[in-house]
């Protein structure tokens, strides 16, 4: 069902970019980690009135080795597969405590989880939270495999990527399934706001966070988060690969607002997927034919997205 949703939010521009990151330096993330970069951007845009529920994963590990913490926000980690449910509980408590006058302000709830915690083990918990309409933002930081445990494949690993449990070999091209389309699954829940984002386009990412927090009800953001360690990528190339993912149409940036698909960025001169693949060791076993197949799939997915945007666009009167 299509709904017209107007989102009132304070827009972030190059001139007023928030500077205070709510994750302090000194955390233990790898060099060039796209997850911590993206998570920092989310907290900059979201501000201080936030409660975080964090799924088990790299981000939980690197930010919270007791007695140290990198968090300047109230933060709760419970387990791997339940960030959606934990966020639901926090949100419900805020609602009732506010209604009863026990707390004056209503902080926003943000859940952070990796792709394994979102697309695999935590999908049920996330789906339940979104379906029940809790007013919270769930952020999936997608680095396309289980990096914390040593680069095992997830259902978010793209076709052809070699991981430690989908290794390329004589009989294998690596991951032999297509990447699960989480943003589309979330859009199918009919929630008011779904968006994809990339840390290479930081203003776009931060404004999407602002919008996600401004809407009433659940919001989902799927953020591309390169993992130099897991992808066999130079740590210095994180932002570059994030930009390439968008410019090759491998990771399209779009929003789904009230069911209407809006493409955030249409590359004027899309680059071939080879430019994206060749920087990463996880794809190095692929041959020309394989690359051509990936190109075909990427073009097909983009075409589908454009059709959705056209079909769901507000009719001109």
């Amino acid at each position: 069902m299509l709904r017209d949703i107007t989102i009132d939010y304070e827009k972030i521009t190059a001139k007023n970019t928030p500077k205070e990151c709510m994750i302090s330096s000194g955390h233990r993330a790898c060099q060039g980690c796209g997850e911590i970069l993206a998570m920092g951007m989310v907290t900059k845009a979201a501000g201080k009135d936030i409660i975080v529920a964090n799924a088990t994963g790299c981000m939980e590990i690197v930010t919270s080795p007791f007695p140290q913490t990198a968090w300047k926000l109230p933060w709760l980690h419970v387990a791997f597969e339940n960030a959606g449910a934990v966020g639901s509980g926090i949100e419900a408590a805020i609602k009732v405590l506010h209604r009863q006058g026990k707390i004056k302000k209503k902080p926003h709830v943000i859940c952070f989880a990796g792709d394994g915690a979102t697309a695999d083990i935590g999908l049920q918990s996330l789906s339940g939270a979104m379906e029940r309409g809790h007013d919270m933002l769930y952020v999936c930081l997608d680095n396309e495999a289980y990096m914390n445990t040593g680069i095992q494949r997830s259902s978010s690993t793209p076709w052809g990527a070699s991981t430690t449990t989908s290794p390329a070999g004589k009989q294998s091209k690596g991951q032999n399934t297509q990447k699960k389309n989480l943003p589309m699954i979330m859009a199918a829940h009919g929630i008011p706001y779904v968006a994809t984002a990339s840390p290479a386009f930081h203003l776009d990412l931060m404004n999407k966070v602002r919008k996600a927090l401004a809407v009433d009800g659940p919001a989902y953001m799927h953020i591309y988060a390169p993992c130099p360690t897991g992808w066999g990528l130079a740590g210095s190339k994180s932002v570059e690969i994030s930009r390439l993912a968008v410019n090759t149409k491998v990771f399209p940036l779009y929003e789904v607002i009230g069911g209407r698909f809006v493409i955030s960025r249409k590359p004027a001169k899309p680059q071939p997927v080879l430019d994206y693949l060749k920087l990463q060791r996880r794809f190095r076993h692929l041959g020309e034919k394989d690359v051509a197949e990936i190109q075909l799939a990427v073009d097909g997915a983009w075409d589908y997205l454009e059709k959705l945007a056209k079909a769901t666009a507000k009719e001109e009167k």
Partner: protein, 391 residues
């Protein structure tokens, strides 16, 4: 004190108790035989009789996860489950106690699959002995009502800050219609003031909850939780005494029935205790030297109180409602054999595992157990009552 005495299904009485306790968040998933409790609570919320958020989660795993989130945010939280549901919560149960969150949960005790069975025994909670929760067992509707209210007071006491499971037998208790006297709301409010968290998720004062426990701190963290559980015994005793005073009943950690200083004692937990009490009364009338000890507090196990209740006894007939496959006997008997080990005047412990999966154990059967025990004809390890076994 205004009081009302009504005939009510025990599940509904428990829901009324949760309402009187002014729970603020209820997260629950349907499972037989617990459902009547949360159905009633959702009705209270729908009618505006209880100002709470009811989260109809998509699994018990999420029920406990949402309870953890809500408790960490500073709300008074309740949930209820049973059997497979409790098993599905398993992972999060440990985390709830480790994070020192005063969640109250009713466990409508039911057998575990397989084969699938909706009927009563204690297999579900016995598989969760080591979760670090305070664990109580109730015997009747009145006790279920009052101890549900008391459970919040125990859990939220800053000397405790641990989750509490109130165990009540599925169907045998949850679905019984019993006469229950409800305290006046003002009495409950005085007994149980609003929850004041020691720490909570608050942007004005950020805290990191659930951090990584590196090897240098993990052990200390675990010991702190265990110590909190051990120390909770005194608070449980104190709150039960106050509950007894408030609700005009008497609640001890361990209860005794029957002949004083009897040579043989039945040991029971939960509603089967009532059948045993009938058997003991009958046996006493026949001049038999037998009594009964009933365990109300299972975790932390009240060792001194239990030993005191058994003083002078030569034999304990321990009724277990769960198996511990591959071990020497049922879980309760294991516990008791451990606490009496090397005691000079330790009683002989015989173990009967009875009533699994809802199998009826009539009063006459307990009398028969007593006769067999007296003749030394019960197995040294355990007897699986009603099943011909080589144990």
């Amino acid at each position: 004190m205004l009081k009302k005495r009504v005939g009510i299904e025990v599940s509904l009485a428990v829901a009324e108790a949760v309402k009187q306790a002014r729970a603020q968040v209820v997260s629950a998933y349907p499972i037989t035989p617990q459902t009547h409790i949360v159905e009633e609570l959702s009705t209270y919320v729908a009618n505006g009789e209880l100002d709470a958020e009811f989260i109809p989660v998509e699994s018990e795993h999420s029920a406990m996860s949402a309870a953890v989130g809500a408790a960490a945010a500073g709300a008074r939280v309740y949930t209820a489950t049973s059997s497979q549901g409790l098993a599905l919560m398993h992972e999060i149960l440990f985390i709830a106690s480790a994070q020192r969150l005063p969640i109250v949960m009713t466990v409508a005790n039911r057998s575990l699959s397989g084969p699938i069975s909706i009927w009563n025994d204690h297999s579900d909670i016995m598989a969760e002995r080591d979760i670090g929760w305070v664990q109580l067992f109730v015997e009747d509707g009145q006790e279920a009502t009052e101890l549900t209210i008391a459970a919040f007071k125990i859990a939220e006491d800053h000397r405790v800050l641990l989750p509490v499971a109130v165990n009540m037998d599925g169907f045998i208790l949850t679905h019984m219609i019993e006469p229950v006297i409800f305290p006046a709301q003002a009495t409950v409010d005085k007994f149980l003031p609003p929850y004041k968290p020691a720490l909570k998720l608050d942007p004005a004062k950020p805290v990191t909850m659930g951090p990584v426990g590196v090897p240098e701190v993990y052990l200390e963290a675990k010991k702190q939780c265990e110590q909190a559980l051990l120390d909770s015994k005194a608070v449980v005793a104190e709150v039960l005494a106050e509950a007894g005073k408030t609700f005009e009943r008497k609640y001890n950690l361990i209860e005794t029935n029957g002949k004083k200083k009897a040579k043989t004692l039945f040991v029971t937990m939960g509603s089967l205790g009532e059948s045993v009490w009938s058997a003991v009364e009958g046996l006493n009338e026949d001049g038999e030297d037998v009594g009964q000890v009933r365990i109300r507090l299972w975790r932390p196990f009240p060792v001194q109180e239990f030993k005191k209740a058994c003083k002078g006894a030569k034999r304990l007939i321990v009724i277990d409602r769960a198996m511990s496959p591959g071990s020497v006997c049922g879980p309760v008997a294991q516990e008791l054999k451990t606490i009496f080990y090397k005691d000079k005047d330790a009683p002989e412990i015989v173990n009967v595992i009875a009533g699994l999966g809802g199998r009826d154990v009539p009063v006459a059967d307990f009398k028969e157990m007593y006769r067999l025990a007296k003749k030394g004809k019960l197995a040294k390890t355990y007897t699986l009552w009603g099943v011909d076994s080589n144990a």
